[in-house]
Symmetry: C2
Subunit: 201 residues, 2 copies
């Protein structure tokens, strides 16, 4: 079956977002990353901040931002779990609708798992070693070099927890991906080209 | 730096050997897989059977085949460990010599780790799901379908143990490879093309 969809999982700082966006541009297809946040917000009463914070990350802590009215909401952990589950349900439905509608590239959000029943999806994962991710995060996103490794590791841990909770699979385990690329060793352009080739083959 | 060497780790039954061989043919470079067994035998007093059985696999059990004179050698486990270490030392030296001598594709045998100090190596891993590996092993290697999954899993476990012992890394962890490919989903020909592209980029 001809492939129509590419999902891209990625480590924080690996350049996965950029690689996915350039891949979509090169293929002339739609691109979904943070775009999904507003689309989920439009379908729920949840704030974009809550969706951005929980759509890919397992959170423990303050719930003040859930409804976007700053700290006055005293939810229990049970409520937070229910909201996370609701958001994940709506996000999953949305990802299935997007995939049905048009060829596209979708970043993160368990899309590889959500679309597992389709036969037209190429699942990609982008990773690299910590020195490359730190250098890139300092250069591209202005992180302090001394803090970068800890910040990146914490975000990836929250992504891994979120992925495991909603898929019962291990995030970053090559078995879940058709193509796993080391962006530090290969470079951004080479990754884009390899994904495009794999998509077309 | 221009790449000269490709190492290919692979799961049993994934077609990794075939993919590596076709890649070497397409690139017009030398190919080393079982070829290494005879080369190590020529440098040691160990039998080819022992080298084939221990060069990639952790073994527990009979030692009768060590010197190729069938069962009369009563070595201790300590002796077996020493022989395994000696063989691994000679095999590692040989892999470094091969890499120094000529562009080539080297299958398994911790070559990615042994050559980690070079900057001209592309490290590849080939995997696929069990149904594909079983189907391929029955078709290509004549395994009984009912036994195939257990045989393949056992061999991969011994490879993983060998790799961990001599590298202190996890076999099949995408972090150790620049390119990890699902041969069942992509197909043998596509894997060959993607490796050749990554090698040239």
């Amino acid at each position: 079956m001809q492939r129509r969809i590419i999902t891209v999982g990625r480590e924080c700082g690996s350049g996965g977002h950029t690689i996915a966006k350039l891949t979509a541009e090169k293929l002339g297809v739609s691109f979904y990353d943070k775009e999904i946040v507003e689309m989920v917000a439009a379908k729920t009463k949840l704030s974009p901040d809550f969706i951005a914070a929980n759509g890919e990350y397992f959170q423990n802590g303050s719930l003040g931002h859930i409804f976007g009215y700053g700290g006055r909401f005293s939810a229990t952990m049970h409520t937070q779990s229910a909201l996370q589950d609701q958001m994940q349900f709506v996000q999953s439905e949305l990802i299935r609708e997007i995939a049905e509608k048009e060829p596209c590239v979708i970043v993160g959000r368990c899309a590889d798992y959500i679309l597992r029943e389709r036969g037209d999806v190429l699942n990609v994962f982008i990773h690299s070693d910590m020195p490359y991710k730190v250098e890139r995060s300092v250069r591209e996103h202005g992180l302090e070099e001394k803090d970068a490794a800890a910040i990146l590791a914490k975000r990836d841990k929250a992504r891994a927890q979120h992925y495991r909770f909603y898929t019962a699979q291990s995030w970053g385990d090559m078995k879940n991906y058709h193509l796993a690329l080391d962006s530090g060793a290969l470079g951004v352009e080479a990754c884009v080209e390899l994904i495009c080739r794999a998509f077309a083959l």
